[in-house]
Symmetry: C2
């Protein structure tokens, strides 16, 4: 089971590492990163991760699962015709084509979301309409073999859904147990609906 | 606010990237990785992340917050006297000294957990006793300015606790909203207590 996660300049780290962490422990799965750009060096959006990626996306002809992470750099991908074509080509042969956060916009640009329900980061929900998709605001949205996840941390939940589809519930639950994924956030402020006016104002000023 | 996360050969990726993702968006905070090893190149435990880290731990004399991630490689750190000494020295000057997963064993080896309650990955709870610590099995345990988190994904929750301590609740909630951290795991199998016998057996066979 060949799972491919493209990384590009200014990807959001948890978008990529969440699914990578979960799916790497799936029996029979091999997860690999591929670089989108001129070189095999990729830097994340937060300035701390400087990665040497083993391959470029052009080196990959097919995969079983594609996971497109989001991040500030995803916007630049939308006009990268060669990469968008590659996503469309990969999708023709995948079992599942998936996204986290604004990675959904890349799927949209590739024409994969036309007429479908989908989700993305709460701040980008309105951007899905231009691709013919309906933003549902749900955590994980599956439409056949396309799965989109909400913002950043939602890739963890999407990966467990995906793990169950690729194997079975017991295996996905074992992956969850390994990662001790029994979340207990100290606040209940993770969605726009739940956040207070003060939090909504402050979120736009965060670095 | 200088937040330092040491990375070493075979660190578990989400242990480090979870807190990094959350804390990097904290106003006034700078999060940086430092390498533990002969070079500034570090590889994670899952084989996909090959990192060029900007500095070695020896280059850092003090920090405000220390976050020690866990992973298979953490065991080797326990007998690395120079690194353990550095952790102890850092702690003398931190506002908060923290760990995720088996990073707690490193704090233990540095003598920081003697007589304290603490937590770590469920599979390593029994290993805390040799350092005079009591494993509580809780998600996040704060004892004064030492905070330990449970396995792998628990660093996300720990980071939000820490964010509130370093700033205020509203800011921590804005960080949570930014990451859309409103978890919805599709299964309730994230702790040993909640996992079924079949899941408990399978978890030890995962890659």
């Amino acid at each position: 089971m060949d799972i491919v996660i493209p990384l590009y300049e200014d990807f959001e780290p948890l978008d990529a590492v969440g699914p990578y962490q979960m799916l790497s422990h799936l029996p029979g799965a091999a997860v690999r990163f591929v670089a989108v750009g001129e070189t095999k060096q990729v830097n994340d959006s937060l300035g701390g991760l400087h990665l040497d990626v083993g391959a470029r996306y052009q080196d990959v002809d097919a995969c079983d699962v594609l996971v497109v992470p989001g991040g500030p750099g995803a916007r630049r991908l939308l006009t990268d015709g060669a990469f968008v074509d590659w996503v469309r080509r990969m999708h023709a042969g995948t079992q599942y084509t998936t996204s986290v956060c604004t990675g959904a916009l890349v799927l949209g640009a590739a024409g994969l979301l036309d007429g479908l329900d989908a989700t993305t980061h709460w701040a980008s929900g309105k951007d899905l309409a231009q691709y013919g998709a309906t933003y549902t605001g749900e955590r994980v949205v599956r439409q056949g073999r396309i799965i989109t996840a909400a913002g950043i941390s939602a890739g963890l939940d999407m990966a467990l859904h995906l793990a169950a589809l690729l194997t079975d519930d017991t295996t996905a639950q074992a992956v969850q147990l390994h990662a001790e994924y029994a979340p207990e956030p100290p606040f209940d402020s993770g969605t726009w609906e739940k956040a207070s006016p003060a939090v909504r104002e402050l979120v736009h000023q965060l670095p």
